[in-house]
Symmetry: C2
Subunit: 410 residues, 2 copies
């Protein structure tokens, strides 16, 4: 199946500068895809700090289990990512495959096994042969070069229609630091999962503890606030690495003024990357932003926002460019959070469509119809009961989504 490039692709793909001591190699291992790279090896020539967040699935893949178990050691020397096979629900074989790859990479780099991190994305339940990957690692480690970020982003794609990259260079306590990041998103083809993978590398000197704390904070408004179809992969992985930098004293406390500066930049970068993932949701034709305000608690705001963002009826309405605010009311109502129907106010973009429990008296179909033809649709709901607010992002549900996902596996 050939995928059309998403109409929501950013106009420019960002160029990422090389980072010192971060060498990248890609290769064609032939795991599933032909004539394209499907293997990425990132080598840290000096020990890097590391942190990560992973899928909440109760059935995680073998690679996710390895990464979780290795994090407490707090040191990374290499990252291996393959596309084409998720090595998920592959039983003891899958665990062995992961171990073989980890072991080979550790030997190649002469480092400890818990300093190698791994992620796999693609087919689920299909045994994966380690040898195709293992055999390539020595030459990849040798030829890996600083730079190559675009190639890295391309090698981890499955049904993504464009590579996803983001970068920030900023002054952090008098020293310029750079954060580079790649991601792959929720493009799915049967039986691939909507695995979201993202790898972030910065050249600042930050303890693993602080990295974890900053990542957990920055993920809330970005990767934890997007949804394509409410389905959660067995393999979702977001990791950050800090290689360290001369003249940048180690950031190891939240009271360090650089903490806030770094978190802000990291949050913006992850947010940009997360939106790229949504914009490449299968069959997406519209980016949907859902703002909920006036909720009684942050949790209530997010529950309501996700109820709207995941509603098939809301998502199909946006696909049809239909300002169907009745379905928004429905989605608010089904969220299970206490609301007062007659206090709801709903806007599409700047157009207020419902107020005081009924259609806005000034409702103008023509103006709203024009707005709905845009690519970026904002749905705003004020609950009228409190002070909490949140924003989440989603995409529309189109015929193409169903076509992509109902295609035969064979």
């Amino acid at each position: 199946m050939v995928f059309k490039i998403s109409p929501l692709m950013p106009q420019n793909i960002q160029e990422l500068s090389p980072l010192s001591d971060v060498r990248i190699a890609t290769a064609k291992a032939g795991i599933k895809y032909k004539d394209r790279t499907d293997l990425l090896f990132i080598v840290f020539d000096k020990p890097a700090s590391v942190a990560g967040v992973f899928t909440r699935s109760k059935c995680p893949s073998a690679p996710v289990e390895h990464c979780r178990a290795s994090l407490p050691h707090g040191v990374a020397r290499g990252v291996i990512v393959n596309s084409g096979n998720a090595n998920a629900f592959t039983g003891s074989k899958g665990k062995n495959t992961t171990n073989e790859i980890i072991c080979a990479a550790a030997n190649t780099l002469k480092v400890r096994e818990n300093e190698i991190f791994i992620a796999s994305t693609g087919v689920i339940g299909e045994p994966m042969d380690a040898s195709a990957i293992v055999n390539l690692l020595p030459s990849m480690a040798e030829t890996a070069e600083e730079g190559n970020w675009l190639e890295a982003a391309k090698a981890i794609m499955t049904t993504d229609t464009f590579p996803k990259l983001s970068t920030r260079t900023f002054n952090c306590g008098g020293v310029n630091v750079t954060i580079n990041a790649i991601a792959k998103g929720a493009g799915m083809i049967a039986p691939d999962m909507a695995t979201m993978l993202s790898f972030v590398v910065c050249d600042a000197t930050i303890s693993s503890d602080m990295l974890q704390s900053m990542l957990s904070e920055a993920v809330q408004g970005s990767f934890n606030s997007i949804t394509v179809d409410s389905d959660t992969s067995t393999s979702d992985t977001l990791m950050i690495f800090a290689t360290g930098k001369e003249h940048f004293p180690c950031l190891k406390s939240q009271s360090d003024p650089r903490y806030g500066i770094f978190v802000k930049q990291l949050s913006e970068l992850l947010h940009e990357l997360a939106l790229q993932v949504v914009c490449d949701g299968e069959g997406a034709r519209h980016l949907i932003e859902v703002n909920v305000s006036g909720a009684t608690t942050d949790k209530a705001a997010k529950t309501i926002a996700l109820s709207i963002a995941n509603s098939p009826l809301v998502k199909t309405a946006i696909a049809g460019e239909d300002a169907n605010w009745g379905r928004v009311v429905m989605a608010v109502g089904k969220a299970g959070v206490e609301v007062d129907r007659d206090l709801l106010t709903i806007w599409f973009g700047e157009h207020r469509v419902a107020v005081n429990g009924e259609r806005d008296p000034a409702y103008c179909e023509e103006k709203i119809a024009a707005y709905m033809r845009g690519k970026h649709i904002t749905i705003r709901v004020d609950i009228g009961l409190g002070e909490s607010s949140t924003t989440v992002w989603s995409c529309d549900l189109t015929k193409e989504y169903v076509m992509i996902n109902s295609d035969y596996r064979s």
Copy 2:
């Protein structure tokens, strides 16, 4: 938009016998549809007991609020149902419309207002004019006849592609009693909601308390175990009425041996009707039955079953006749309930596809592919941790679902 009749329609529409003192009239009020009936008036010539369950939406419609408030009185003399306008999110106007209709019906039948029940289904947020309905009530009350159940089922349809009826006649403590029921289902056309309405009438003599208790029990394995797209209407209404019968002493205690007999029959009838609703889900081409066994609690079993039954990726796979058990694992994992990946066993029909955390060694693609071409697909998952089990029903997610629901409102 014209809807093709669902390929899952039952082969025969059941004929319902007339019930004494239950008179039915239908009419063309022209609320939205042209050239078809859209108004139903059921008249109980003697006071009937009544019970009901309603949408859990926090934004219910005005008719739902009226019914909830009237139930404690425990007596029904009339039911009015219109299709074409849900009178939901219509503010104080909507409440006035409901009150006007209730008042007119009560005057016509010379009964109390809280003895009239009402339901509306159709467009949301559109003010509804009471007069078209009010003007028809006197003549409808006069011409209403015993029987007419098929006409009743047709008058409440919105985008249903077939009328939904079910009946049972059985011996209950030495007396033959009959339960008749109609429903409308989850056919949707923008901006109609997936409102589920069902009205059940029996000729047994049962107190309202007992009716409520029996209905609450019987709804669990039927209407509370089906899902089309996880979206919940503002107007879902299921009501039961008991007109009473000579030589049938009033059933007013759970210890009455007739209680169990009646609940069993009611459960079967509601189950049959609920499956008709799923089989008429928009664009449905396959009925999906999800059995979850071996869960630690009933609640865990249902959470997992609904996670599978609502997963867009599982539903699109079934549409594509693809035995994609990897997506079933994903849906189990995302349910948030504690599971052990390596204890899961998964079947499609009789075909075991996964066991011990990986694909079944005896997996045979050909046999399973043949099974997946059937109309009724059973997904069975054993969690391997406990004794609790449950079954829910859903339908597949097809291109037609998206087409129906992304069509312009105008």
